[in-house]
């Protein structure tokens, strides 16, 4: 009985954690390249969930075959979120390159508020049910602890992270991204188009957030315009926990945070679940701002 409960919490934590990791990757990638906390990243995740909901709704009403809906809706969410991320950077951050450090941050907060209210006004302030889109997976019946959505989330996010890691490691674009993150001026001298790389970073980060949005929406089955704030904060916590700017760090941080939350909810109390994330964030920033896998930076004049 006890061990069953433990395993259930463990898988619940892994599921949550992998979603946090997907979103945290967006924060970490952007921070690695332009040293900006993209405050509106949580909103991109929310937009992903909404786009998927709307596309799935339209397809459902017009009688699209059930099996394909999830795939088409996910693809649509990824494409639109990539476009949102791209536009966001062009409108709110690009004009502020070279401005004092607070300016892009305030602009990002503004953008986050703007996007939340854009969805609130264009769609609805209420919670909306998200359609159940997952295929049947009879082989999971033996493993009672793993629900189909948990299984799918784990699978998809693992694959996405492996693809990302390979992309960053081996492709030309990935190498250019790493070079820009290391030293933007030097990368420019070597003929890397930094603007393009920054756009690419936003596109990749937003696509991952969209994927996270669709997965979590189909798991929770209910979304509203406000979900981006908390998810964004938690994913940011995960990114900081792992060491911001570090890609494996974001994955580790996400999983650790997800497990910590899941066990606290299970063994202590559900009331303090959200406080836990914020408390971890504050403690990490104060005690070890470079995170688990980050490297300490020396402040230069």
């Amino acid at each position: 009985m006890d061990i069953e409960f433990f395993v259930e919490l463990f898988f619940g934590g892994l599921t949550r954690g992998s979603i946090y990791a997907l979103i945290a990757l967006g924060y970490t990638l952007v921070y690695g390249i332009i040293e900006l906390i993209n405050f509106a990243h949580g909103e991109v995740y929310m937009l992903g969930a909404f786009t998927a909901l709307l596309v799935a709704g339209v397809l459902g009403v017009y009688g699209f075959p059930f099996g394909g809906i999830l795939i088409v809706a996910t693809l649509a969410a990824i494409v639109w979120c990539a476009a949102y991320g791209f536009t966001l950077e062009k409108v709110a951050y690009k004009p502020l390159r070279g401005a004092p450090r607070l300016s892009p941050l305030i602009s990002a907060i503004g953008m986050s508020i703007f996007l939340q209210n854009y969805v609130l006004l264009a769609q609805t302030p209420d919670f909306v049910p998200f359609p159940y889109l997952l295929p049947e997976m009879p082989f999971l019946d033996d493993l009672a602890v793993l629900s189909p959505s948990n299984f799918l989330i784990l699978m998809v996010s693992t694959v996405a992270m492996i693809v990302l890691a390979l992309f960053i490691r081996y492709t030309r674009m990935g190498k250019a991204m790493r070079a820009t993150a290391q030293n933007r001026k030097m990368a420019l001298l070597l003929g890397i188009n930094a603007d393009k790389i920054i756009s690419l970073t936003f596109i990749i980060g937003s696509s991952l957030a969209a994927l996270g949005g669709v997965l979590i929406a189909s798991h929770m089955q209910v979304i509203n315009y406000n979900i981006g704030f908390l998810a964004g904060m938690k994913a940011f916590t995960a990114a900081v926990l792992g060491g911001i700017g570090s890609i494996p760090g974001a994955m580790v941080g996400g999983l650790v945070l997800g497990l910590a939350e899941s066990f606290t909810t299970g063994y202590v109390s559900g009331n303090y679940e959200d406080i836990l994330a914020f408390a971890i964030l504050i403690l990490i920033l104060i005690l070890r701002p470079d995170g688990i896998l980050g490297k300490a930076k020396v402040q230069k004049v």
Binding site: G57, V58, A92, S103, L105, I113, Q123
Partner: protein, 410 residues
Amino acid sequence: MPRIAKALLCAVWFMLLTFPVMCIQVNSIDNSVHWHFERALWLGCGVFVLALLWDWCFARKAKGQPIISFGHGLTRLAANLRGDPRCRLGGLSLLAVGMLLMPLLSSIYQTNIMIAALLYVMLALGLNIVVGLAGQLVLGYVAFYAVGAYSYGLLHQFLGWGFWTCLPVGGLLAVLFGLALGFPVLRLRGDYLAIVTLGFGEIVRLTLLNWPSLTGGPAGISNIPRPGLFGMDMDINASTIYIYYLVLAAVVLTIVVISRLKNSRVGLALQALREDEIACEAMGIDITRVKLSAFALGSCWAGFAGVIFAAKTTYINPSSFGFMESAMILSMVVLGGMGSIAGVVIAAMILILAPEYLRAFSEYRMLIFGAIMVVMMIFRPQGLVSGERRRYSITALKGTASASGQGGQA
């Protein structure tokens, strides 16, 4: 011509981008889809105009011309108000008379709105010390406001303390919270500080929400008494007017204190901290003390405002102290101009009163607040009224011109 083509392209791009969220509405109950194609059309037209405007603003910015020009008359008026002491006195006394007579001439409803606006002025001025003067981006400012409000609510509920005892206590508690937040975050700067303070604000709100035995949880605390005046019995109208004068006095006090603070030793140290932390330390300023005093000075106004807020509404609950409130106060500081007192007062008034009087516009309030923060940062980072610095000139040191003599010693 290429500009128009570019704007058209922008319009098409945004129409495509916003297509799902703007144009599709799915009703999951009766399984139907509503299409709103007309919205895409309006949006396209709007984006086209905005894109042209955006380009024009950038062109002006590149040439170094001001993007917002207030017109010749207004510029001269502003210059006069700044430069000419007689003109300044005249303007201020006109404003003072207007503000003093306001509750007598207008309805209770108007007075209530004005009280809310004045409370925000106070909050924005307090945040202006931390963000505008000291350059420490604090996103959880509303937590101190909550501390003030709840300290009155709880002290009244459990100990039966009155408004006038709670006012200083609320301010003091907010200062203590400010220091409690300030100590651990001393090492953090910029964006990390912003996130930690945001987390702190959320922790305060969530604690208030999840501790029903003390704070009443989501239901909050009700039946908080309005402030008394020597034990007089007041009906609701009289007491609203009384609170109005109280807030007005508090705002005037805030303005006086902050304008004195700005050019004081502490104030100059705060501004040095904002400009460059390392250089500031190298000049022999104790960063720890300066940062903590920024937090303490900023949070105490929020504490006072919180106590007055609790007394005004007689009912408080955690939902009044969410992140959006913090963001709203921050956007007032950003719009007004960091470090500028007049600017922040004007911005707070505009941002609170405009949605009240333009009802059609009130729905879009937060949308516009968000957009203002982005646009101001890009085109006018110094805000509507840029915070003026006291200038020191050589002539004053020589003692030849007495007009600018006030800046003789630093």
